[in-house]
Symmetry: C2
Subunit: 463 residues, 2 copies
């Protein structure tokens, strides 16, 4: 019985690899090394492609290429599919055209389409030329849909039965196949013109009298996707209706492919990873052992944007240098106001962005939302403002300074709340993704705003 096979076996393999590396370094026991390599190769052969991919992800470039060299050519395509973009690129760069054509050619049309953006154009051409007619058309179709649509995610492994066939005949069709494609939980039922009529779950096929016609037991109410549907919407449908597979039909109702739950799950994982990375200003998933320059390229954009917003905040402070000169305590206290404002604004904007993504915010409740967030901000402002005001008074023995601190805290939190609701709603209204750069935008507002409010109040009341 196979246990959860991963953790221990993978660690064992990595220990083995380490030993091989040690041997390599010492260059002493050449025969020993050959034996170890053979052992390692045999172990790799027994591992699932996804597990090998996971090992490759966790190795520095040199060791990664060594392991890659031990992988059988017939599995390379499948493993490439499981890798993150960055690591995949590092391996593709190490392969020549012939190897790439061989690795890719063994895949199915929808899988080739997934790899195509990372392959040299000539390799893609060669692969297309070598495909049988039907698969060539499937590949062309798959390549024609935009990223993030159902068309780009679907596969072509659907099993089709005609509505006028008997269940007996449908069962014979199934028996004729060596093995059913993964995630075949239902057959797709079409009419004479190839138009989708519905689905026939295997579970239903098993419990129904085989002499009946497919058309009598077809489920015509099943969820149908279109190639242009957003993958995100399809993912929600899979979650809500607990689907394992769903048919994809074009505008004429003709079945063109299917979407399966494993593809949807990969998509959800990838999207959530991207969202997390984007929040910290990383453009895409990074190979942790990437060359310094690649990492730099992945990160510089947001650092540059941050530089600009920090510079603006600095100029706001610059405008009040006269005040700071007279009361230097302001310099020490101002980052507290801006910092708490930023933290609180990020809380609000994260919640609103999430609610927008889930489709939970109706235009009619906009004012209600702002009202609620301003309420929370007032509560926070009075509490933390008072606390900080007292702390400022105790530190500097200046009552007015404490008062300014408390008032500035309250006003900055109100600003953070208002902006935290307004920025994502406006961006959504303009058709932008409200998640992108949300944190940078709100922090820019609360930094410059917080400095301005605190130093402005101080200049008004203290000097």
């Amino acid at each position: 019985m196979g246990e959860l096979p991963t953790r221990l076996e993978v660690e064992d393999l990595q220990r083995n690899l380490q030993q091989v590396q040690d041997l390599l370094r010492r260059q002493k026991l050449v025969e020993g090394l050959a034996g170890r390599l053979a052992e390692l190769r045999a172990k790799l052969e027994r591992l699932h492609s996804a597990d090998i991919a996971s090992i490759l992800e966790s190795l520095p470039l040199e060791e990664r290429l060594a392991v890659w060299g031990l992988v059988g050519a017939e599995r390379e395509g499948e493993i490439l599919l499981e890798l993150s973009d960055a690591v995949r690129e590092s391996l593709i760069a190490s392969m020549d055209s012939q190897e790439l054509v061989a690795a890719t050619g063994a895949l199915e049309a929808d899988q080739i389409a997934d790899l195509a953006p990372d392959l040299p154009a000539q390799v893609v051409q060669d692969v297309i030329r070598a495909l049988p007619q039907e698969e060539r058309e499937q590949l062309r179709a798959a390549l024609s849909y935009r990223e993030g649509t159902v068309g780009a995610l679907m596969d072509f492994d659907q099993i089709i039965v005609r509505e006028d066939a008997t269940l007996e005949a449908a069962t014979r069709t199934l028996r004729g196949l060596d093995e059913l494609p993964a995630h075949t939980d239902q057959l797709f039922v079409v009419d004479r013109e190839g138009r989708l009529r519905g689905t026939l779950p295997l579970a239903r096929l098993i419990v129904t009298d085989l002499e009946r016609a497919v058309g009598e037991v077809v489920l015509s109410e099943s969820v149908t996707l279109h190639p242009e549907d957003l993958a995100e919407d399809a993912a929600k449908a899979f979650e809500r209706y607990n689907l394992v597979s769903a048919p994809v039909a074009d505008h004429f109702g003709r079945l063109v492919g299917r979407l399966t739950v494993n593809t949807v799950m990969d998509y959800i994982r990838q999207r959530s990873a991207e969202a997390q990375l984007a929040e910290s200003g990383l453009r895409e998933e990074e190979d942790i052992f990437a060359p310094v320059l690649n990492s730099f390229k992945n990160r510089w954009t947001w650092l540059a944007i941050n530089l600009v917003t920090a510079f603006i905040a600095s100029r706001v402070i610059g405008a009040f240098e006269g005040s700071i000169e007279k009361l230097v305590a302001l310099a020490a206290l101002m980052p507290i106001v801006a910092g708490i404002g930023g933290n609180s604004g990020n809380q609000t904007i994260t919640m609103i962005v999430r609610a927008l993504a889930l489709g939970q915010i109706q235009a009619s409740y906009w004012l209600k939302l702002i009202g609620k967030e301003l309420g929370v901000a007032t509560l926070n402002g009075v509490l933390w403002g008072t606390l900080l005001g007292v702390a400022a008074f105790l530190l500097y023995g200046n009552v007015a300074l404490g008062g300014v601190m408390a008032l500035a805290m309250l006003l900055t939190l109100l600003l953070a709340a208002a902006m935290g609701v307004t920025i994502p709603l406006i961006r959504a209204r303009l058709g932008r993704d409200p998640a992108v750069g949300a944190s940078v935008l709100i922090t820019a507002c609360t930094d410059s705003g917080g400095f301005f409010i605190f130093l402005g109040l101080a200049t008004l009341f203290l000097l």
Copy 2:
């Protein structure tokens, strides 16, 4: 043929509801109102529970309770299961014990276990008492496993066949059921003692001669989970091996339940939502229309922690007040150094935390990782440091100030890189979740550190 049913229908429904609310407010057309309510109730009846849950999530409390009142009692349990914790609590608070017992009693044992933590203890007692013996034991079992384990996520809808039965007999068992449970892609095969021998995929059952014995065609190599396995590891197994369902067996090899892909997908979504929220210092998913006090409770912890770290940073500045008094430009420039340091440190720590979660970091490559991150930091430091140094010189006409700015930028980025790698690795070594509070910790380091480095260098070289 059912299209993706959600968006338009849901909006239509919400428009309807708005009209009902308008009517309610005007209190004019009482007969009209009754008709509208009946219409709305009929529409709700046609919607999937998950869609009703989505509508409830997007309504303010008053309207939410109005719609909840229109939902048939027999569906309340299912809908409660689909809601986020916060919204679920708001509805449970509106129901009396009798309603809760009725709503919960209609569910299956694993579903009751999911709701139990949110229900009054008395209600749970009453529900348990009313259950048949077998389900009562299942519920007790489900409640006994910690959150985040397979045991807490599994259900009890497995269909079991004996290995010595024929496929013919297995098929008869299936025919005897009204309907197969969702996600039944395989049957679970046990021996006379109830020990799991493997699985029998429906697809295999269909294509195999019915006179053969189950034991001859059983897949004994299938992935098996244990109730104590971490849900996260199980989720990885589902993704890697493209599973639809997996058997859960205890330490004696006895089948105790099964895990299905829809549960895993929900779990992944929830975890990724929590991670995103935690990064902004929200303890849990928030009802966007929650009372101000509830939202405050959800957010105050991290604001308080942030307050402490901001206060420490402020005291670092306070120690250099003498220097700022002499050269007030320092006050305007210091937030830039700390800000860019924080942003860059967050990039590093996000990447490391993610790689740790994916199991990609081996202890042996620790130095290699630090080396790489220090390399990226040096590149960034030289580039942005020079840029900011020149800007500082142009603004204040002070070459030495520009030099200090550039050097402080470089050193702060190196600090951020070193801390960004070290903090999560140490926390992981200590057995803590490296993701929790990562952003707050690194920002605390870069703020205090950045201020100290910049003001310290300025005091050394400029005054």
